[in-house]
């Protein structure tokens, strides 16, 4: 017989070791699809490493890719801590991006010191607003936020196409469904000359530090964790659970909205409907790899960004589909999930049947 028993003191070493092990295992498992595609896995890994760490440019590309993932990873991590399943970061990202170009691409011709903070605030606000609706439906009607946020992603994407063919369309854009460019003074300044990495990364890192501190040390963080661990007990202890949920919903949505701001006003300069290759969904993987810890989100985002940038570069060099990156990312999620089980329980072999 096999018996499963909870560990009495889940070790802290597991908390750090398991995500690292999951990352390694998922990369190792990538050898299977690589072999299936007829590529030499070792050469492929070499190309991936070169594609991420081979040059300053490669490193800058990786940090550029990690930036939106830190935002969406934080969005998921904070919400999941309160057991609020915000799967809508993808949509909220686009809401933030739409707000950014709505105000930033000429509607308001203000100096940068006014315009840039306004773009950031409005983008965050739009994302937050996008998460308030499903939270209201959850609290008021008991409508599962997983389903509503997922469906809202599709609604917002269609709304985006409508805006890009309508009010937000660039009049000089020859009819392409894209927005006018954000004014120069409204752009997040680049961090290095001739590189794409931009100051959105600094904002993301600062917010991760604040989130880490608030979650661990503040009353707000304590309430959030209490609501997530046992909502009924938290209510009994006098915590206003709904208020906590709305609060974390707003913050989570705002962080996802900032991912959109950062991509539009930091990287692309204008908005199209393919701004995000699923950053919202990948943020969930980032958050899970991070064990829902904001500091961990930064590390996990760097790892996932490396996988994407490395796989892109390997794909160009060897002709293996870059969907390999999505494969590695999804496998790392499943690995870390299983790892979480091994950290919490131990599997015992017992001689006699347990009744």
């Amino acid at each position: 017989m096999i018996r499963i028993e909870p560990r009495e003191n889940p070790s802290r070493a597991f908390a750090i070791g398991i995500p690292i092990l999951s990352a390694v295992i998922s990369l190792a498992l990538a050898a299977i699809p690589l072999l299936a595609a007829g590529a030499n896995p070792l050469t492929a890994y070499g190309e991936m490493i070169k594609g991420v760490f081979g040059s300053v440019f490669a490193l800058s590309e990786m940090l550029t890719r990690a930036t939106p993932l830190i935002f969406t990873g934080l969005a998921a991590a904070l919400a999941f801590r309160a057991k609020l399943w915000n799967i809508g970061a993808e949509g909220q990202l686009y809401l933030g991006a739409m707000a950014a170009v709505a105000i930033g691409s000429g509607y308001l011709d203000a100096p940068g010191i006014v315009l840039l903070p306004l773009i950031i605030l409005l983008g965050a606000g739009a994302g937050a607003a996008g998460m308030m609706a499903p939270t209201y439906l959850k609290v008021r009607f008991g409508a599962d936020e997983v389903v509503t946020t997922l469906l809202l992603n599709f609604i917002i994407l269609i709304f985006l196409q409508m805006m890009l063919e309508g009010p937000l369309q660039d009049p000089m854009g020859l009819g392409w469904p894209q927005s006018a460019p954000v004014l120069d003074q409204g752009m997040l300044p680049p961090l290095m000359e001739r590189m794409r990495v931009h100051s959105g990364l600094i904002i993301a890192l600062v917010l991760a530090a604040i989130a880490q501190f608030m979650l661990a040390r503040s009353v707000w963080g304590f309430k959030l964790r209490a609501v997530g661990e046992n909502a009924a007990a938290a209510r009994h202890a006098g915590i206003n659970v709904n208020r906590s949920l709305f609060g974390v919903a707003a913050i989570s949505g705002a962080l996802a909205g900032l991912a959109g701001v950062s991509e539009v006003a930091g990287l692309k300069g204008y908005l199209t409907s393919d701004l995000s290759p699923g950053f919202g969904y990948t943020g969930i993987v980032v958050a899970m790899l991070a064990g829902l810890s904001p500091a961990g989100v930064v590390v996990a985002a760097l790892f996932i960004a490396s996988v994407f940038v490395g796989a892109d570069s390997m794909s160009r060099a060897m002709g293996v589909s870059s969907f390999l990156a999505d494969l590695v990312v999804s496998m790392s999620l499943l690995c870390v999930l299983v790892g979480g089980f091994l950290a919490k329980y131990r599997i015992l072999r017992t001689r006699e049947a347990v009744s």
Binding site: R3, I4, P33, A36, A37, W85, I87, L137, F141, G142, A143, D144, V146, V147, T148, L150, L151, L152, N153, F154, I155, I158, F159, Q161, M162, E165, G166, Y281, I284, V285, M288, G319, V320, S321, F323, L324, D326, L327, V329, S330, M331, L333, L334, L337, V338, G340, F341, V354, S355
Partner: protein
Amino acid sequence: MMDLLNILLSESFWAASLRIATPLIFGVLGALICERAGVLNLGIEGIFVVGAMCGWMAVWLGAGLWGGALAAAAAGALFGLLHAVLTVPLGLSQHVSGLGITLFATSVSYFTYRTALPNVSSPPRIEPFQALDIPLLSDLPFLGPVLFQQTALTWLALLMVAVVWYIMNRTALGVAIQAVGDNPDSVDAQGLSVYGLRIGAIVAGSALMALGGAFLTMSAFDAFFFGMVNGRGWVCIALVIFASWRPGKALFGALLFGAFDALQVRLQTEMGALVPGQVFLMAPYILSIIALVIAARSADYPRALLTPWFKGQR
């Protein structure tokens, strides 16, 4: 107003509604079986993709249409088994595991498709299921075109409604599946295997979901595209709550959704000049949310849904 009436009375409208409803019927039934056994399966969106890709690819490789359907169901069952292992004996978060399955299944499908067909600009086509032209019945006024010119997979979906209803309501197995979703301890006390019932239900439900995906590439269209599932799986998760976990109401919900989707396409052509087309495209998703909100208050969730159960632990 006249136009609306004309649309609602036309044969082609109802034929289209049933066609659009077909993948949802498979999906809602699949989700219903999983949730009745106490496990939420958010892998559904990815399992749709796997079903669509495998079904299409098997036919493209020469397996025949039913071979394709079988391959799709088998692939869906396989991913279902993975979800089952993670959520039942290991008791891991059903939300996270399901989302993980969706990401994994989608990326496996896309990677396989891209690797098999590296340099195609237009996706290769297969000869899809044809309308079953049943002599005499197909010539019936109204019902003929609506019902008797659908493809075999639509008939299979309707048949599955009856089969699932029968199993759930008239067999010991169905009673056991429902009991395992409501009160696993009682099932265990009767000497039945909680793990076995739950795993079996998830595998079977996932196979049905994959058939919904297969319908897309083998009946509705004749090729595989990236992003073709487009949220249909998530719609099913909303519809199963709307259907209060009953097969008959699941059919009704899927048909209602199908009718609404067919209507928006027609209204779009009628009123396209007045309202941007996207307003109509959004409507089905908004409808799903509304259906969920209406049903959520009184929803009688399976009592042990989302709750893992471990042997020997009360």
